[in-house]
């Protein structure tokens, strides 16, 4: 009798307990949830919560099933996907091959669709065979699968509806997600995002307990409150400098980056880059191998994005290091949009920007391919096509050849590797990854309250 009463009391308490919603902040307005047109870091977070891609990427970077239980490489080079039967949209309708095809075709046909997703599907053909969607692309299957993890599937005709582990409810000034009956079995009740662009405000909100997790301003004095723990995770993010003057200035920067930045200025979120490409994507640190060392120029001009105080302090340190070698490194801060235009027009000697790489090694091809969105210097090499055709899987030997090609005449060099510093409520268990907390599988669906 007593046991029954205890069980009843426990059940009642569980029913009456308030939902434990994770309170989070967004640094910028993501705009409306739109699986076709949405394209920003904040929009990716919303899409990862409310949508499912055919495949997912685990925190360790490996592929994992998501909407598709498995996939097969057919003889004609196309990839065929078997969809899970228990994936459903908010109205209860099962996710079908028609939804997959509609999403892909809309992305290919709509000129206002996400540029990132359009690039992923460029040149692809899609179709359906016996209820299974297939896709054929000029890209190697290994690359295509990793990239498809960034393309959540929308409900046919409804670009704002996905089948993800959380249902989206927009509120004035807030983006609210509540748990759904989903195959990833989310264990938290929901998430609520507020727009907090100011890192100082994030710090105050974390200290006052208004946020469950957040990335506060990194200062040596900032200590998390007793209710929070500090979580550091490497990111696929670097501060990259492009050179229109050839590899000569980049060789100087390669030397300067080793000892230019004092540890106190670097803080916990940045460290000097070691190689040419992100080590988080599996690339070993390589040095520039360009032949012939030109003399140190008397003056160099570096354009960079204005507004990030910690980055600007680090660039001042770099300027002082250059001065020791007799080079006057002139820093020209520009508004981000103006810098982007200057990069695209090639109107710079040196230009630096923070780059967030896609979570797969093919992301570095954006530097090298003639139409690559980060090939701001018109870099080209006759041997590129032959090497890229041999890139079938991450870790293939051809990646070494590709890096060698770039190391002989690089057009860009990373100066800083970034990592994110988060304060997380001690009661919340999360899984970090170089993609952040949300963009891997299971992402927020795998979080749990202790």
């Amino acid at each position: 009798m007593r046991t029954t009463l205890w069980a009843l009391a426990l059940a009642l308490a569980t029913l009456l307990a308030p939902a434990q919603v994770v309170e989070e902040s967004l640094p910028a307005d993501p705009g409306p949830l739109d699986f076709i047109q949405g394209d920003s870091y904040e929009q990716w977070i919303l899409q990862s919560l409310a949508g499912d891609a055919l495949v997912g990427i685990r925190a360790d970077g490996a592929l994992t099933p998501r909407l598709a239980t498995h996939w097969t490489l057919l003889e004609d080079g196309s990839l065929s996907f078997t969809l899970r039967k228990d994936a459903r949209f908010a109205d209860g309708r099962a996710v079908s091959a028609e939804d997959v095809l509609w999403t892909f075709r809309e992305l290919l046909a709509n000129p206002r669709a996400s540029a990132t997703k359009r690039a992923i599907l460029a040149g692809a053909e899609v179709g359906e065979r016996q209820g299974r969607p297939w896709i054929r692309s000029p890209k190697p299957p290994g690359r295509l699968l990793l990239e498809l993890a960034r393309v959540p599937i929308a409900q046919r005709g409804q670009p704002g509806q996905g089948s993800g582990p959380f249902a989206f409810h927009p509120e004035p000034g807030a983006w609210v997600f509540t748990r759904r009956d989903h195959f990833l079995r989310p264990r938290i009740d929901g998430l609520r995002f507020r727009l907090l662009p100011d890192p100082t405000a994030v710090l105050t909100a974390l200290r006052k307990g208004w946020l469950t997790l957040g990335a506060p301003q990194d200062t040596p004095e900032a200590e998390p409150p007793p209710t929070c723990r500090r979580l550091t995770q490497p990111l696929h993010a670097q501060f990259v400098v492009w050179s229109r003057l050839g590899p000569g200035p980049l060789r100087l920067l390669e030397r300067w980056r080793r000892d230019a930045f004092p540890a106190r200025l670097l803080g916990r979120t940045a460290r000097p880059s070691q190689g040419l490409w992100p080590e988080t994507l599996g690339f070993p640190a390589r040095a520039i191998q360009a032949e012939g060392m030109s003399a140190t120029p008397a003056q160099l001009v570096l354009h960079h994005a204005a507004g990030d105080a910690s980055l600007e302090r680090l660039l001042l340190a770099l300027r002082e290091r250059a001065r020791r070698d007799g080079c006057d490194l002139q820093l020209r801060p520009l508004e981000q949009g103006l810098l982007q235009e200057r990069l695209q027009k090639g109107e710079f000697q040196l230009a630096g920007s923070v780059v967030f790489f896609e979570p797969q090694p093919w992301a570095v091809l954006e530097y090298l391919e003639p139409t690559g969105p980060m090939n701001f210097t018109g870099w080209r090499h006759t041997g590129l096509a032959a090497v890229t055709s041999r890139l079938r899987q991450p870790g293939d030997a051809a990646w070494v050849d590709l890096q060698t090609l770039w190391a002989r005449s690089p057009a860009a060099l990373p100066l800083l590797d970034f990592q994110s510093l988060l304060w997380v409520d001690r009661r919340l268990q999360v899984e970090s990854s170089p993609m952040g907390l949300y963009l891997h599988t299971p992402g927020a669906a795998g979080w749990r309250w202790r």
């Binding site: 902040s25 910028a28 307005d29 705009g31 409306p32 739109d34 047109q37 949405g38 394209d39 920003s40 929009q43 206002r112 996400s114 540029a115 990132t116 004035p172 000034g173 507020r194 727009l195 907090l196 662009p197 100011d198 100082t200 405000a201 105050t204 909100a205 006052k208 307990g209 208004w210 508004e335 981000q336 949009g337 103006l338 810098l339 982007q340 235009e341 695209q344 920007s353």
Partner: protein
Amino acid sequence: MSRLLQGLGIWGLGLALALTLPGSAWKPAAPPPFPWSALGPAALAVASLAVLAPLLVWLGGPTLASRRSLALLEAPPDLLWAALLLALWPPAWGPPAQTAWLLAFLAAALPGEVRWLAQALPGEHPLPLAWGLRATRRVRRIVLRRLWVRWLAARLPVWLTATLVLERMLGVPGLGTDWLTRVAGRDRRGLAVWVGVLACLWLLTRPWQREAA
């Protein structure tokens, strides 16, 4: 007529600047929807300011313009008011919302606007002070009535867009955030609509700005 043309010329320049804003976004994306829910709080903030500032000037008179305490209140930037409010806001109340934003906005804007209006009042010594308080306040009322529409027309664009710092600090997205998001995303059409609406508001105030002969 020439003043109208001058004004239209300036708004036209603003429109041209919005449509030809240089620069481009790193990843072009669809512009955000207009935050209609922010219109109510913005209207309330503007209405509060439009009533409170003339009322305080009517009570205080032109000497407010040189009052040191007012200058002290006017000096701190929006950032400080927002930080102070955040620091004093009790954690148990939850994050500050629209009401807190309105309070911070009034604290930041009211002293400056009171001084702006007080400076525009004519001197009161020896007349109308010699006629007594009632006559003095009547004169102030007449002057403020003339001044009110011009002041609104001049300051409205600032009030509607310059709340950005408060919005960022307090996490209350509003019209200032919308304006900045469109600039950052190079939504030239959206910015042009903004400039057009502000120009229309200015045009609407024109009939009330005429001086009686």
